[in-house]
Subunit: 243 residues, 6 copies
């Protein structure tokens, strides 16, 4: 089985981190096909970055889909372009936020999310609400570090992540922690050991769910919202004729 993992931003070092986490998470025999968003922003921090990253991501998904990927994983916690990706893929498409939320609601009754920048808090809150988990998510917290600082300054990242985790436990009553950035994947085990709680990294969750869906032979519905994009050449001709 081949799983296509797309890092929608253009930072190849981050793709490497994500690919390593994906390979560590995958079953034996699963091939991870990790790609980088060509020409995208260096990190995804807000709606503008998402929007600029999606077209290249869709191209990568189309190509990987044609070449037989069993499933696609969008490795950015904002799940940028998730619905659009489902339109252009026959294989299932997994967003790491949706995957992490699905796992968190299976392992716990109440969880909190910890992300990078405060500006991402409403973005993630709205995602969690759209995924139907608003009543189960206690709070979305931020360590107030840019995405790229996670690797550039790992000591600070760890300290702040642990502090927010402890606050989530005592103040929020969180029973599990969701890591709200693909770049936090390598801190997952360490944090779980420190906190004594399940800590859910979206990359790990998504790779395993991708294997599950691909393994079961599931395909994205091509009826309705996720149908293939329409060929509009006829429309245009008709329109031109009418004008």
């Amino acid at each position: 089985m081949r799983i296509h993992v797309i890092n929608p931003n253009s930072t190849t070092a981050m793709t490497a981190t994500i690919a390593a986490a994906a390979r560590a998470a995958a079953s034996p025999g699963t091939v991870i096909d990790a790609r980088t968003g060509a020409g995208a922003p260096v990190s995804i921090e807000g709606y503008h970055d998402e929007a600029m990253a999606v077209p290249a991501m869709l191209a990568a998904i189309r190509e990987a889909d044609r070449s037989g990927a069993g499933a696609h994983v969008i490795a950015c916690f904002d799940d940028p372009g998730l619905a659009a990706a489902r339109e252009v893929a026959g294989a299932p498409v997994i967003g790491i936020c949706q995957a992490a939320v699905q796992v968190a609601t299976t392992l716990s009754a109440r969880f909190s999310v910890i992300t990078t920048l405060p500006r991402s808090v409403p973005v993630i809150e709205d995602l969690v609400t759209a995924y139907g988990a608003a009543g189960r998510c206690r709070r979305v917290r931020a360590v107030d570090l840019p995405v790229l600082a996670l690797e550039a300054d790992p000591a600070t990242a760890r300290a702040r992540l642990l502090a927010e985790t402890r606050a989530a436990m005592t103040q929020d009553g969180a029973e599990a922690i969701v890591l709200g950035c693909a770049g936090m994947a390598d801190l997952c085990q360490w944090l779980s050991d420190q906190a004594g709680l399940p800590v859910i990294d979206g990359v790990t969750a998504a790779i395993r769910l991708a294997e599950a869906l691909a393994g079961a032979g599931y395909r994205t519905s091509k009826s309705g919202a996720y149908a293939w994009p329409r060929d509009k050449s006829g429309d245009l001709a008709a329109h031109a004729g009418a004008a």
Copy 2:
């Protein structure tokens, strides 16, 4: 990996059907440990049947958990005793309704559920709402056949299932169909071929998600709602002393 699948009702023929579906769905190397709810009702059709089936189901889960199951699957679409099961298990516990809903919201934007008896419609609606998918589930439909009639009268079951599926497509705009009974597992592929839509059987979905969670090493949170049941021997002594 060993996945424990509990059929909460006491009909062993149904356990056999479920086990066959589970084995067909599982990855190579996964061992399916299928059990039957000792002393439970012959089928689960409503809240009373759920309540009477759960204690034996919890005993089975405790035992399978101690003997090293990597995950547990509750093979009844009402997800009876799901929260209680999570209290008594260290391994993740998957309900087939929750699993099917998670898959349906990944593959489609709008789905409908088709279950057995009309009395189960509000039961399933409330589950879907609790799982946060009320806005994505167009309608819960019923074929108006008892659970055990699915195998006793397969021709009628197929005809009604197909009729409700067509109604779901034309009237509801359903993009995927969820089968709302563990006993429908063997009709899944046939119905998908007929309808040209993804048809999601909860047993298949749950087995694959169980493998995913167990494979990733996830464990149920033991902090908060799903903590192990308390040992109350001390409470009772204190209480007796106080009385």
Copy 3:
């Protein structure tokens, strides 16, 4: 009029406390038929305890229903087995949580709940949400004492209850307090006097609502979700014949 009050746990001293509160709450002429859950856990603290207590509770409800009870009250704040109880009873069934929430939303615009253990917080939050009062319940708080400690150590119980009540008033803006455990019934008047707010004990609320429904001649609907459990002897024969 006879009201059946079932304490779903097996602690008879707690049944006595509940029965005393029920009799104090009842109208003159109402007979309180208080029963104890045979073989149930000594207290209900979480989903597992609920599940283990429900079968005996249902047997008690069936029996009391046949012998002419005008209504049934489930005297545990988790409302364990409420829907199942409605299936096996012709008379109305009142859960003390649902009753307390109905009274609280009549007397105030915003209320907080105070329960025993932190693990019960999400349990009660989900109930309040299911009863449609999520927007009116400011917060579910816990005194962090086991159920049986309420009687074993009443001084601590009172002190913590008062502290949480004051916090609910100043931090939550609570206009009324709901006591989140049947074992708190005897503290209700004292706490209301201390706080100067309505304090709602579920046993009192439920007894009065039970009298109201029984007095008006209301009966549980036997169409749909709460229909009597089906007789499945025919199904089984058909199934056996088919297999």
Copy 4:
């Protein structure tokens, strides 16, 4: 015990009908103090009629509260001025819509409402949503007759009510029916006999709940939203001084 029942419209014949229903519903020993909204519209059909009826209704509630009413019932299904009434009363105030919804959610899992005019449908839908029962109310239906026509043309009223009830059962899967107008109280028993379902008249429900709350000694919270209206003579003086 004395229960104050206010008919917010000015049609005394309708007050008589309501008072008769209230007395039929009340426990022995309960005194029904039925009043008519002085100078109000002849019927309440929409928001304007509500608004014009409320000031006189509040005056009646103040007066009845001072003279010792144990509870107040607002006998109009739109629950006009319910929150305002709670501000000016020490005794509990029951709206017949809220009461009927509380009873319906106790007796059934799904209900439909049948009211008079189509223009009242969104009014009642919004009330049901505000009371937290949107997920349990299948549909609000209208017989398309003005309030006063219920008594003026009873044969038509009965025929249409029965037709809508049958539609609610077959199309909505309603398990109980709520009558959406105080003027339908006298049709309740007849309709229930015809339909074989619980039919809930708000006047009956509210009288019994009023007895329940008054009997338990409950009082409206005077902290927060329902506090007594402020005496503003000081504000005005301060304001005049400042201006």
Copy 5:
């Protein structure tokens, strides 16, 4: 274009403040027709005050509507009688709370409201929920000053408003502030300058939206909930004949 602005309370000095804010907000060429609620309470602080103010307000709206107002603005943040006003007006009716919420959700992802008295907090929360913005409103805060004290003691008003704004920024993550009282209109620019955030005064927002709707030629729907109040003279005759 003429915009009718009704101050539902009877304090003419407050009408003057509101009219000044309205004129400052209006486009050149817009005529502001500001009126005062005859015989209404001196300020609107809670549901009772709303109810007592609405009939005179509706009379003013009827009159202004007949004389050709292009739109009506209800200049009280509780939006008292908004639905009733829409029944009696052909021109669009704008409530300043609804207007402010519409603007806030256009300019920001998350906002907080700051009002006068704590008792108004649940009132405004319920409005924000009814307008569909519960998920976007972080918190409703109160400066704990009566409406009329805003002008009587402006120094205190400013100090408390600024303190709550700072708390909304740091504790709530508010990206914009909504002023929750018509009497705060003149503090809007000052507060925005202090805080560096958009501060939305409902009067300003509503005047501009009123111009927008009137300018586009929109009229209130007269089908359904906001249809003109019915003429019931025929009903009454029929009813009298039937009785």
Copy 6:
């Protein structure tokens, strides 16, 4: 005042239609700066088309914002890239769906939307839900014509639009109609005349709201979710240094 109107698709004939509608809707003195999405799909029919259209749209908005536009209108009913546009603009950004929904909830209690293709139904439902109007929107309907066919075959478009409008009135109880496509702007007045209901075209609504917000001096919040995109040159350097 200058309002920037961006047609996110690349069909200039459609831009001309939109610009004409915008100019017809605008106040005297407002300048409409209408632009076309360079290199975008010829129409926006689903998530993929949205994603491919947004980057060029953002470039147009940045440019128009720098050159002093008072507000921006995204003239596609899917509101593609609305949040991203708010990040890159100082002036307010109006989506025509959000604008139409705001107007519809001001003029009516219940409305229905009529769009082009069935595949857009869930897209628009999710938008309406995100804007908080799910409870007020009766149904999203589709005429089952591609966007460009609206102009190419106007007779069919009118016939189907009228048929769906009549169905919305009789089956949905819609009190107002929202046109769910920018290309329907020129049918608005005709349809309103035919139906006797308010018909709301998003372009008209948005132009007027844009004037309202710009006229009041409102600016998009630059704190939180809609803050300017971060300059990440420093991050990258730090990251490179760390790697």
